[in-house]
Amino acid sequence: MSDKRYTINRISDRTMHILFFICACTSIFAVAVICIFIFAKGLPAIGEIGIFEFLGGTEWRPGQEKFGILPMIVGSIYVTAGAIIIGVPIGLLCAVFMSKFCPKWLYKIIKPLIELMAGIPSIVYGFFGIVVIVPQLRSLFGGSGKGTLAASILLGIMILPTLVSVIESSLNAVPESYYEGALALGATHERSVFFTVLPAAKSGILAGVILGIGRAIGETMAVVMVAGNSPVIPESLTSNVRTLTANIVLEMNYATDLHEDALIATAAVLFIFILLINVSFSLFRKRKG
């Protein structure tokens, strides 16, 4: 009897094993297919356009077969950098507050609200940007209000949930003894938090920032609505900017032939960016371990 049950258990064990394995394979398969598709269609296009003309060209005029994506690469970097400059200080201090200073009753309000922030669809953020941020910037700085600054502010807000949750958990992971040790040496609460706990959580904080960068560089719909989307390298904070993602989503509907392939090649470039970001993220994670 017990022998039979043992065999049944073993069989169900193995089937579940195989099932889990298939599930794991599916996601790997999906990633592989996406990779193959993007590079198989993108690389020949880059070859046809010429790698230097494609990556270094400053003119994007598909109608005249000019496919230079340098303005979009620079645009993506500017907007992401702006988002980090705006988002990181706020996110970091917010996480410190939540982890070390927040009274319990307030924590129970803030935490779900931040989680709610992560769940808001990006198109809703885009509308928020176009009706709130853009008009304010227009009345402050003149011009159209759309541009690098508007996109950076919006993205700075959008990456907050990612930043706050990663940084907060890395702060919580710092052994309590660090904090208590600092207190015992006579440091105040603030001093202990900022000079012992925070440095100890450094790699976790960096990991959070890198994840934030990944989120910012990949964001599309919200950015398209507030960036203005001119394919030129922005001259100032208030001039229009087009990111790599915006370039793809703006023109995909109407693109044909080489134009379409050039957009897929843009996706390949974006893909490499994201890959680099993820690799550096896991490097930081490893160092932490």
Binding site: G143, V224, S230, E251, H259
Partner: protein, 289 residues
Amino acid sequence: MKLKKLTALFMVAVMGMTMITGCGSSDEGITKDTEITVISREEGSGTRDAFVELFEITDADGNDITVATAEQNSSTSVVITTVKDNPAAIGYISLGSLNDDIKAVKVDGVEATAENVKNGTYKVSRPFNVAYKEDSLSQVAADFMKYVLSTQGQAVVTAEGYIAIDVTDDYVSSNLSGTVKISGSTSVAPVMKVLAEEYEGLNPNVDVQVSEGGSSAGMTNAIEGVSDIGMASRAVKDSEIAKGLTSAQIAIDGIAVIVNENNELGETLTSEQIKGIYKGEITKWSLED
């Protein structure tokens, strides 16, 4: 606990409302020194192609030379929202999409109305086309085409604010059943959806599905047989005809140049001025080079 969460949510909502109402009254009017915010559509858009061609915003070889710093938006509705919010903006949209939120510019003194397009005084117009494979067109799709090109179908076109083409045949329902799949231009889709509804009213057993994806995507779908009929807001290209498509014009659409309601300097513009603005030669509302 619940109560506190609710209070917090309520406070956030109030804050948001204050911000939105706060910026409603931020900007009114422009002066001659105000810089023009030039708003364009993305490369490949049917509306943009037609606009550029009609106003000759091209170089000697016929290439689109819309000023690179112009803001680019991927849909009519974003162009309308942007112009509605920004008193210094100028944009262009399909005449049928015109509403009270913005003001249509009198081009060379002629008001942008369907009548003026029809009698030829308002020159900025383009054809709405459909294309299909003549030999493999299903019976029900052919019947739908017959409806579109009948007096009843063209009455719908007129009622929607577009310009009908001259037809003489009346449509009589032959009570077919089946499905008609239509895809393509986002500019043609609104009127096509109304036509589809009216047709379904006459033929209760027919399901007409209209999806938007851009003129080029519509043509590709028709060639590949994904859709029965493709819609294009531009002329059907020779390369597409070579792949077996037959095209038919179903309506004429004017293109309205639009400015903000509070913009008095841009009420009437000559086509030379509009050309100068979109080429980047005129940058201020004084309208001097």
